[in-house]
């Protein structure tokens, strides 16, 4: 019954998307606004279908409806509620369903916000493109990835339960939806880019239309990637957070191109240049999300995340080919309109820095993409097996990352057009000295490693520049209105240029992450100890005492916990319990290690139970001291806050535009500036 309801939802979604495409096409062809308005309504039908289908799936999961094959494979009666709900995105078919739901949601928000302008060619075409993408995903669910396929033969009393790795941590319930909100959100700017090319309105209109959507999707994607790293760190137990696993890369590559896009659009908004480049970047981002889904879900890779295998690969590859061909073909077709007469006067300018930024982001994306697909290509073409792993990615990406950090420190201070030596000295002198002295201080205090010291120095350089811009901005606000204190001046300054000040906060988050990466990559200490009960071992200033073992069984798994007391410099930090869980139901009786992490401001103590007690009663205890890891997650939080500042709707501006607004209230003053510097565009 739930299966039929769900399949009905999927069918409704597909029919509505297909009818919507046809209606929009007819409406656009006849230039009939009424038909287009009708076509627009189909988006809400798609959303209804997706909600019904996803709801039916959750209902089936919660009520243990094992007549649906997906429920049998991804749910068991003993599965806790949280992981029951999360099972919706635990495997291929369910994640396509989630994709469809998120896409329908984005499209509905889009057509609702633009409801007054549904018959404008740009908006109409964008809606049409969005509906085509939706039709593809619903078609997948009708055919090769049907989430509601009935169980063949006898209906079992219990299911297999989710993959053991997926029912071990709360983050599993949050990380995938975040990632999907990011991935799928890139469809909106893609749809507008295609619409801009088709209608020939290749100016700045489509960029302004999608600016907020792109930033929101980018923030979700960033959050998803960081939560994925956190999950990997807390669950997988190898002590790291990023393994350059192909599936991690699949989410990271579109993030890189999207980040490049967020920066290069500023040049187009300001100077009208880089049209082809911006269109290419957003099309590439969309294609890379499809490629990522192909890599993750077709089983083409052998990796931690490729939980499923199916024949869906061909569908995704065809769709990828279609999207790429559409993009390249349209850009070639519109080539003459895309040429712009502008020029960039000097490489030492804001535009020049944006170009360098884009070059580096593109190179970064290319390296990660090449390293990810190279083994596949070599195996497919030459039947050889080789690996491209962490040492390769570290060697190639660390220099690019440091160069990006440098431009992040310099670029926001550069003026447009051209910078004189005098301007550079005035704006960058103090921040550069802060950076250099930080490097010297780090080296004198015992920091080692060139890459680490450069990262710390550039981080300090960038943050000093950001502080300088905030101080200048707040100072200008206060000069204009001497009565207010900095506490009121700060929000007013930020509200005056949300993109600039929000973007600078995002940069602070990036610096925090860069420093945490440098420290944890360079200075982590790890060892394994074979210990008997009561034995003490030490690593640096930490002492570990193995107190004993605890074993308990639940329906799903047997868990063995080793209790370990941790002390630093003689002071007790607590008793931690790294564990091994054995899932007898899972294929192969998988044993999953659960690390126990003491999170600290300066360092994490990361304990793993590598091997349960052998015949001699010894366990193998993995001990790791990783500096500053917690700042990776904090940096992620700062990035989200900064993006929120940047996309927050500017209420004041709207009220000012309305002369009928409360007359008693004095009109808010425009934020004045100390020099042209505070009027600069946002760094993102």
């Amino acid at each position: 019954m739930k299966g039929a309801l769900g399949f009905g939802g999927v069918t409704l979604g597909f029919m509505a998307a297909a009818l919507g495409v046809v209606t929009m096409a007819v409406g656009i062809h006849r230039r009939d606004g009424r038909i287009m308005a009708t076509g627009r309504q189909f988006v809400f039908m798609v959303l209804l279908g997706a909600v019904v289908a996803a709801g039916a799936m959750e209902w089936a999961l919660v009520t243990h409806d094992f007549s649906i094959a997906y429920v049998v494979r991804n749910h068991a009666r003993a599965t806790p509620m949280l992981y029951t709900v999360a099972a919706l995105w635990g495997a291929l078919e369910g994640s396509i369903l989630l994709w469809g739901l998120v896409l329908a949601g984005y499209l509905a928000v889009m057509v609702h916000r633009l409801r007054a302008r549904a018959s404008e060619p740009l908006v109409a075409w964008a809606t049409l493109v969005g509906l085509i993408v939706a039709a593809f995903f619903f078609a997948l669910m009708l055919g090769p990835a049907n989430p509601f396929k009935p169980t063949g033969g006898l209906i079992p009393q219990d299911g297999l339960g989710p993959n053991p790795l997926l029912q071990n941590h709360v983050l599993m319930a949050i990380h995938p939806p975040m990632l999907y909100l990011g991935y799928v959100g890139m469809t909106i700017p893609f749809a507008f880019a295609v619409a801009a090319l088709i209608t020939g309105r290749v100016g700045e209109g489509w960029l302004l239309e999608t600016r907020r959507a792109t930033l929101v999707a980018w923030a979700f994607l960033s959050t998803g990637i960081i939560l994925g790293a956190w999950w990997s760190y807390e669950v997988l137990g190898w002590g790291g957070y990023w393994a350059w696993d192909p599936v991690e890369n699949a989410s990271f590559i579109p993030w890189l191109t999207a980040t490049a896009f967020l920066h290069s659009v500023v040049v187009q908004e300001r100077r009208g240049m880089l049209r082809v480049w911006n269109l290419s970047l957003i099309m590439a981002t969309f294609c890379l999300t499809i490629l990522g889904t192909f890599l993750t879900r077709s089983g083409v890779l052998n990796s931690v995340h490729a939980f499923s295998e199916s024949t869906i690969g061909a569908w995704f590859l065809s769709f990828l080919g279609l999207a790429a061909a559409t993009g390249i073909g349209l850009i070639a077709w519109r080539g003459d309109r895309l040429r712009t007469p502008g020029r960039i006067d000097s490489p030492v300018s804001r535009e020049g820095a944006f170009l360098a930024n884009n070059l580096l982001f593109a190179a970064f994306a290319f390296v990660v993409l090449l390293g990810t697909v190279f083994p596949l290509l070599v195996e497919a073409l030459r039947d050889e097996k080789l690996s491209v792993g962490e040492p390769y990615f570290d060697r190639m990406t660390v220099p690019i990352g440091l160069a990006l950090l440098f431009f992040m420190a310099v670029a926001p201070a550069l003026p447009w057009r051209a910078a004189s030596g005098e301007v550079l000295r005035r704006r960058l002198g103090v921040p550069a000295w802060v950076g250099a002295l930080t490097m010297a201080a780090c080296a004198v205090l015992g920091a080692r490693g060139v890459a680490q010291i450069v990262a710390f120095g550039l981080g300090a350089f960038a943050v000093a520049g950001i502080v300088r811009q905030y101080v200048l901005g707040v100072g200008a606000t206060r000069r204009a209105d001497p009565d207010i204190g900095w506490r009121r001046a700060l929000p007013r300054t930020v509200a005056g240029n949300r993109r600039l000040y929000g973007g600078l906060v995002v940069h602070v988050g990036v610096v925090v992450i860069a420093i945490a990466l440098a420290a944890s990559m360079g200075y982590t200490k790890k060892r394994e100890f074979r210990v008997v009960e009561g034995e003490q071992v030490t690593l640096q200033s930490h002492r570990f005492t193995y107190l004993g073992i605890k074993q308990h069984e639940t329906g799903q798994k047997t868990t063995i916990q080793a209790r370990v007391r941790v002390e630093r410099d003689g002071k007790e930090l607590g008793v931690y319990a790294p564990a091994l869980s054995i899932f007898p139901n899972a294929p192969g009786g998988a044993a999953i290690g659960t690390p126990s992490v003491r999170t600290g401001v300066l360092r994490d103590v990361y304990l793993t139970l590598v091997a349960s007690p052998g015949e001699d009663g010894r366990i193998t205890l993995g001990v790791q001291l990783s500096p500053l890891v917690v700042w990776l997650w904090i940096g992620g939080g700062i990035i989200v806050c900064g993006t929120a500042i940047a996309v927050w709707p500017a209420r004041r501006a709207r009220r000012r535009a309305d002369p009928g607004a409360d007359a008693a209230e004095p009109p808010p003053r425009p934020v004045p500036s100390a020099d042209e510097e505070t009027l600069q565009e946002a760094p993102v």
Partner: protein, 157 residues
């Protein structure tokens, strides 16, 4: 003149000194056998894991490989020879950092080549931009703007 040159030079000097101090500590003296073992283990793939290196993996296979590497390091075998031994038993696949020979060279050369090509293209573009005179409004453009402005004034919004 001197006041202009001295501060950047002093800045550069501080940076260089910091890097020399910070970089020197790393390579002073012969590396310990444990560090050598770790470095080799990081470059080898754990054959039974999913994409983890021998250094990162807790699997028994990786553990015995680490012990074997340590034995070989203690016996004075070179890193290249130890890796070659593992390539002999598992194939090229066991190397996480592909060799810069054969087809593997592409994965190193392509990104560097692409970056150089793009940077060269940008340099060419800047040269062309510099030669091209800055755009200036012609009389025609001015007339067009004037007309548009006049139009707007006549039509109250």
């Amino acid at each position: 003149m001197i006041r202009r040159i001295v501060p950047p030079l002093a800045l550069a000097a501080v940076v260089v000194v910091a890097l020399v101090i910070g970089g020197a500590g790393r390579d002073r003296g012969p590396r310990s056998p444990a560090a050598k073992t770790q470095a080799i283990a990081e470059d080898l793939r754990c054959p039974v894991c999913q994409g983890l290196s021998v250094a990162d993996s807790h699997s028994p296979t990786a553990e015995s490989m680490r012990e074997d590497i340590r034995r070989r390091v203690d016996a004075g075998e070179s890193a290249a020879s130890i890796k070659a031994h593992y390539v002999g038993s598992y194939g090229e696949w066991v190397l996480l950092r592909p060799e810069a020979t054969g087809v593997g060279v592409l994965v190193w050369v392509l990104p560097v080549g692409a970056l150089l090509l793009a940077a060269g293209g940008l340099a060419l573009a800047f040269r062309r931009w510099r030669r091209q005179p800055a755009m200036a409004a012609t009389e025609e453009d001015r007339a067009l703007v004037e007309a548009a402005l006049a139009n707007q004034r006549n039509e109250p919004a």
